[in-house]
């Protein structure tokens, strides 16, 4: 993977000169990609979520460039299991962006890249072809592959946040942890299904955009059993 510092300099240079792909946005912050950027991009839905973070918190930052370096760890089935980050001196913004990346669905082509990489014979990292520039595996062990995503640049007025993310695919203790299956049966799940099949499914819950069945389900999780009734502004049945 290209070092974060080099990636940052390249990104900022490209930002100033390139013809960029602008994504029209309803709010203040806007997303750009350097025209000459390489590597897979952050999925659009994740980019939009990151943009929302900058839109919400970017105003708290002083004018200037900020580089958010993020390492996204993904398990063997493509599920994000951890996000490590640095570079943004704003806890809420950093947290918001980590959460956005945590929710990212890793593109299928990245997972295919990993399979391709693992099926090849080990090769020295310095023997990469230009097409492999973004790929750096561990040639000795080959249990993980890190892929640099194209830098994502989010501009919010005088603040520019460059998101330099890499995806690490492979085995890790964290991945193994996150892959665990919950083997404790949820006593509330079947009742939720039944509720949603009943006339209660269209009844209102405790707040707007919240159904009665959902409120009953939440009470079930707290009590460990499906409630007969729940307390809203008055008692309402769950059965």
């Amino acid at each position: 993977m290209t070092s974060p510092r080099v990636r940052t300099l390249v990104s900022l240079g490209l930002l100033g000169s390139a013809t960029t792909a602008f994504v029209p946005l309803g709010c203040g912050a806007k997303i750009t990609y350097p025209a000459a950027s390489e590597g897979p991009r952050v999925p659009d839905a994740t980019a939009e979520r990151l943009r929302e973070c900058v839109d919400e918190f970017g105003g708290d930052l002083a004018r200037g460039y900020y580089v958010f370096d993020a390492a996204v760890k993904v398990d063997e089935e493509g599920r994000v299991v951890d996000v490590a980050s640095k570079g943004v001196p704003h806890a809420d913004l950093a947290g918001c962006m980590r959460l956005a990346l945590r929710a990212m669905t890793v593109p299928e082509d990245l997972l295919r890249l990993r399979k391709l990489r693992l099926s090849e014979s080990p090769a020295p990292a310095n023997g990469q072809t230009p097409a492999e520039r973004g790929l750096v595996g561990n040639p000795a062990v080959l249990v993980a592959v890190a892929i640099a995503l194209a830098d994502l640049i989010i501009e919010a007025g005088p603040v520019i946040v460059v998101i330099a993310a890499s995806v690490e695919l492979g085995k890790s203790d964290i991945a193994k942890t996150a892959r665990k299956k919950d083997d404790d049966d949820d006593p509330c799940q079947e009742h939720l299904n039944d509720c949603l099949d009943s006339a209660l499914q269209s009844k209102k819950g405790s707040v707007w955009n919240h159904s009665r069945c959902r409120t009953c389900f939440e009470k079930c999780r707290g009590d460990g059993k499906w409630p007969d009734k729940i307390m809203m502004s008055k008692w309402e049945t769950c059965k």
Binding site: V81, R102, L192, K204, R214, S233
Partner: protein
């Protein structure tokens, strides 16, 4: 409780459409084969769709974002991703604010449950104790004025149980019948259970 709408009414329009879609997704997400990350992605897509449909209606936008954030924390409490994920989901909810006391109680319980599972009692108690104290004050006031105490008792019951679990954990004692990440990981690493010879 601040919801002024009649809870017995039928939902309709956008609210019904959102709840139907959200509840269907929740059922799908609770499937053991569905990962937390996949579920979050599903709900973020749902959020984007309904926020777009809400247009300039700030109330719809805000409440939709809150419901999605609440669902993500609920799923974190159920699917047990790393603790940091649960903490970030909780922070997201706090940032968006609570629609009413019921929401605050339910979501505080979910976060405290994450804390219990990861044996982080101090962080859970830091959320639960002030909330329990507030509800107990309300209960006392209701008793003093001979008003209904149902709401306070109803909300306090699960919170007090979890508070007691966290206090037990803080004292270094195990909580009977309660699983923790450490217990689950130990089980997985036991040869008889994971098939290792």
């Amino acid at each position: 409780m601040s919801d002024e709408l009649d809870p017995d009414r039928e939902m309709e329009g956008e609210e019904l459409a959102f709840c139907n879609a959200s509840d269907r997704l929740l059922v799908k997400s609770l499937d053991k084969e569905r990962s937390f990350a996949e579920a979050v992605d599903d709900f973020r897509r749902l959020e984007a769709e309904f926020v777009a449909r809400a247009g300039d209606n700030d109330f719809y936008v805000r409440e939709t974002r809150r419901r999605i954030a609440e669902t993500i924390l609920t799923l974190a409490s159920r699917k047990r991703p790393p603790f940091e994920v649960c903490r970030e989901a909780w922070k997201d909810i706090v940032r968006l604010g609570f629609s009413n006391t019921d929401r605050e109680c339910v979501m505080s319980w979910n976060f405290a449950d994450c804390c219990r599972y990861d044996e982080n009692p101090e962080e859970g108690l830091a959320v639960l104790l002030p909330l329990v104290a507030e509800l107990e004050r309300g209960l006392e006031e209701a008793r003093a004025t001979q008003s209904s105490t149902d709401f306070y008792e109803y909300q306090l019951e699960p919170l007090l149980k979890l508070r007691d679990d966290l206090l037990t954990q803080r004292s270094g004692q195990p909580i009977p019948g309660r699983r923790t990440r450490r217990i689950d990981e130990a089980r997985r690493s036991t040869p008889e259970e994971d098939g290792t010879p």
